[in-house]
Each structure stands twice: as C-alpha cells, then as structure tokens.
C-alpha cells in the first residue's frame, strides 16, 4: 500500500492541468494513465483548436498536449506520471487499485481527481457489428497516431464537430468520404468546418441515417435513407453507397465507471452525455476529497476540460492545506473563464445541464 497526497486518474487535458495547479502550490502528485503516452484525446487532434486564447486556441491539439505535459517539470511539488497504468478499483475505505505496467498496485490517496474522459456512443442499425464500422475516435487514432488509413471510402454518421473534423482529416489522409449523414434537421458542428468539407465535394445530408450495412465479413455496402418529421424512414428514399468504412460520430458519454464504484451521487443528464457525477463549484463530488474534471464530468471540450482541471487541482490542493492568495484569485478567474466558455447561444443545453449537475453557472 502506498500513501500519497494526490492521485490524478487520466493524463488528458483535464488531468494535466489539475496536476499543474496542484504541484504549483507544492503538492506532490501522482498521475496514472492507461495509455502509452499522455495527452488523452489531444494526441490525435491534428486540427487547430477553436476557443479562447487562454486555452490555446489556434494551436493544434497534438501541440497542446506537449505544452501541458512539459510545464509539469520544475514545480514546487513533484509530478510523477506513469503511463500503461490503468486504475481499476475504488474502495469504500479510500483505497485505489491499479494495474501499473503489469503490476497490481494499491494506493491510499488523501485526495483524488478523476479525469478519465469519455467513451464513444454507438448507433443501432442492422450490421453495426461488422468489421469496418468504427467509432470516430478509432478512425482518428488509426490515421493520426499510427499512420494507417481506415479504408478507401467512408460513410460518416454524424455532422457534429467531431464528424466534420474527422471527415476533413480523412480527406487529408487521402481517403474518400462518400457522404456525411445526420438525423437532425441541421448540421450540429461549426459551419466553417461544414463549408470546407462541402467545398471538397462531400455531400452533407441532414435528416438521413443508415439503416443497413452488409458485406462478406466486413462492410462493403451501406443502405441509407431519409427521415420524416417523426424520425421514421421515408419509403422509397433508400440509396446504396459502396463504402468500406462506416464511421460513427454520434457523440460521447462520460467514462464514469470508477465514480460508480466510489458510490458518488450520479444523475442522468442528457445534455451532458449521460450519467454524470453531481459536483459543487470546487469540482468535488458527493464523496469528500474526490474531485472530477473534463469530459467525465459532462461532455464538453478540451478548453472547458482544462479549466475544470485547474479548478479541481486548486481545490484539492486547498483541501490538503496548500493554498495561497494567488490560488484563490486564480480559482475565481477560472470560474469566470468557464462561464465565458459556456456563454454562447450554442451552449444553452450545456448551461442547463451543468446547473442540474450542481456546477457553478
């Protein structure tokens, strides 16, 4: 059993920012991440980020990951980051278990920040288990991390930002995109992305979905159809597309298994992607000393994940007796930044969801 002041689960933007703020005021931090390298979702984001300057807008995601990681050196508190380290258990008595580089480990942290991110949702249609039906994150990982083309011709399901960005990245990798479908009336993602893709000749069909995928043990064809006002199939609207990949970009849900184990109070909030932990303005859950940040606290963006991470880091440090005049001011500023990030008309749903989850809005 190893006793430590602060354990952070997940080295995505949320976890890395939390570590920075806690170590800055002198807390020793251990971060565990199950991946082979830190950065979370950022390591496959080749596009320049939108958002505000404080959160590195117009820097590519992959570069942001590097910046967040490198600034953890030479802080008053020591930051130890272990990769290939999966946290597997949270117990009532505060013990956390993990598989760290093949070894079973037990930790007793005084405070803990869970920043595990999200998992991809899937979609019900006939043939959705065929090889070639891949989540959008998987397609990105394959292309941008391993340099492997997912296929030759892709049907994209979902015209939110992720669907649009991944479509563009597919084109950059020399892969054809047959079409982008979305069941909604309108394109959910930013129109700048949509126009760029349309200019490249990819049709974006709203009120459309995929009904069937088929082929010999892998995707070879898809049948798509239009939807009426009640979201029913419009008879006769079927079209066959010859594609070898169907990329599913229909959203994410919080990866909250560890929080269920820790028995924190959870609530289903559709606008935040599913079950999310209730929290206070310090990002603390109903379990004292257990904090959350980033997509696990509600699906948003890297920008808000970073700010939530900072708040969780400052708050956890404060609980451990490490705080300063500056850190109080900084927390206030972070809360203000969150408010700004969620201020736009497009964030209406997020604001309502966050209020239901107990967040400061």
């Amino acid at each position: 059993m190893i006793s430590i002041p602060l354990l952070i689960v997940g080295a995505g933007p949320a976890g890395l920012c939390a570590a920075y703020r806690a170590a800055e005021v002198g807390v020793d931090v251990l971060i565990l991440d199950r991946a082979q390298k830190p950065g979370g979702q950022l390591v496959k984001q080749t596009h320049k980020f939108f958002g505000s300057e404080k959160q590195f807008a117009s820097t590519r995601g992959i570069e942001i990951a590097d910046i967040l990681f490198k600034r953890l050196e030479d802080l008053p508190g020591r930051v130890e980051l272990l990769t290939d380290a999966t946290v597997i258990g949270f117990y009532e008595d505060g013990v956390v278990t993990a598989e760290v580089q093949g070894k079973f480990m037990k930790y007793r942290p005084e405070a803990c920040i869970v920043a595990t991110g999200a998992s991809e949702k899937t979609l019900a249609f006939t043939g959705n288990d065929l090889p070639g039906v891949y989540g959008a994150g998987a397609v990105q990982t394959l292309m941008n991390e391993y340099g492997v083309r997912p296929g030759n011709r892709v049907l994209m399901i979902g015209a939110g930002n992720i669907g649009l960005i991944v479509s563009y990245q597919l084109l950059q990798a020399g892969v054809q995109v047959a079409a982008i479908l979305d069941a909604a009336d309108e394109i959910g993602g930013y129109l700048v992305h949509a126009s760029k893709i349309r200019r490249a000749g990819v049709p974006i069909l709203t009120r459309h979905t995929v009904g069937l995928a088929y082929g010999d043990e892998k995707v070879e064809h898809a049948i798509i159809h239009a939807l009426d006002d009640e979201w029913n199939k419009i008879p006769g609207s079927e079209q066959q597309l010859d594609v070898d990949v169907i990329c599913v970009a229909v959203g994410l849900s919080p990866l909250a298994d560890l929080l269920w184990q820790a028995a924190v109070d959870m609530k289903y909030i559709g606008a935040l992607g599913g079950y999310v932990p209730l929290r206070n303005s310090d990002m603390m859950t109903s379990v004292a000393g257990l904090y959350i940040a980033g997509d696990v606290a509600g699906i948003e963006e890297a920008s808000s994940a970073m700010v939530e991470g900072e708040i969780a880091g400052i708050s956890a440090a404060g609980r451990l007796g490490f705080s300063s005049e500056e850190s109080h001011l900084l927390k206030k500023d972070c809360l203000q930044q969150l408010r700004q990030l969620r201020a736009g008309p497009g964030s209406e749903k997020i604001r309502t969801g966050m209020a239901l989850a107990g967040a400061y809005v």
Binding site: R34, T122, L130, P131, Y134, A138, G147, V148, P150
Partner: protein, 104 residues
C-alpha cells in the same frame, strides 16, 4: 503489402519505422515500430480479428482506445487481449479468437 500506410500527409509526418515481424493465424506479417497489434493488422489488410463466441459474427475493432473489448484476440497463447492498445513486438504469435477464451 503495407498499402494502407499513409505516406504523405499535409500536417503529420510518419517516419518510416523499422519492420516488426509477427504471425497472424499462422501467416507471417510485418508491422512497423510504434504499431499496436490492431494497427499492424489493419495496415496489412486484416479487418476480421475473430468471431463472436455466441453469434459467430465477425468482429473487428470499434473504439481503438481499449474501452469496448470488441478487439479481443489470442496473443502468445493468452486470450482476451485488447489488441487495439497492445504494442506490437517482434515474434508475437497472434491468433483470431472465436470463443470466450481459455486461460493458459
């Protein structure tokens, strides 16, 4: 052989990488350093990683980050390995998995 590899990209640079030989269902294949088992198989044109133990449906990967268990295979005799997050090593013996797996 490695026709699915991206050689030219407007933003990213993929270094050549050294060859990593491994076997898949008895066939000799070659991956690249930095690959996972799944990325090496995909680059070699292999999409079917196994079959569902009940329905017999072909299985491929889905999330590629170790979340969904859609990509379980038998690696060096050990079943239920999530090949999407398992780094490829020279000489690995990789086999399709069509059942729940039996521990060695």
């Amino acid at each position: 052989m490695n026709s699915n590899r991206i050689l030219e990209h407007p933003i990213l640079e993929f270094s050549e990488g050294s060859d990593i030989p491994f076997s898949f269902d008895g066939k000799e294949l070659v991956g690249k350093s930095g690959d996972t088992i799944a990325s090496a198989l995909h680059a070699a044109g292999v999409r079917v990683l196994g079959h569902h133990f009940k329905t017999g449906h072909a299985r491929g990967f889905y999330c590629a980050i170790g979340n969904c268990s859609s990509c379980l295979m038998i690696v060096n005799g050990v079943p239920n390995v999530r090949v999407c997050v398992e780094p490829l090593k020279a000489g690995m013996v990789v086999n399709s998995q069509n059942d729940r797996g039996v521990l060695p």
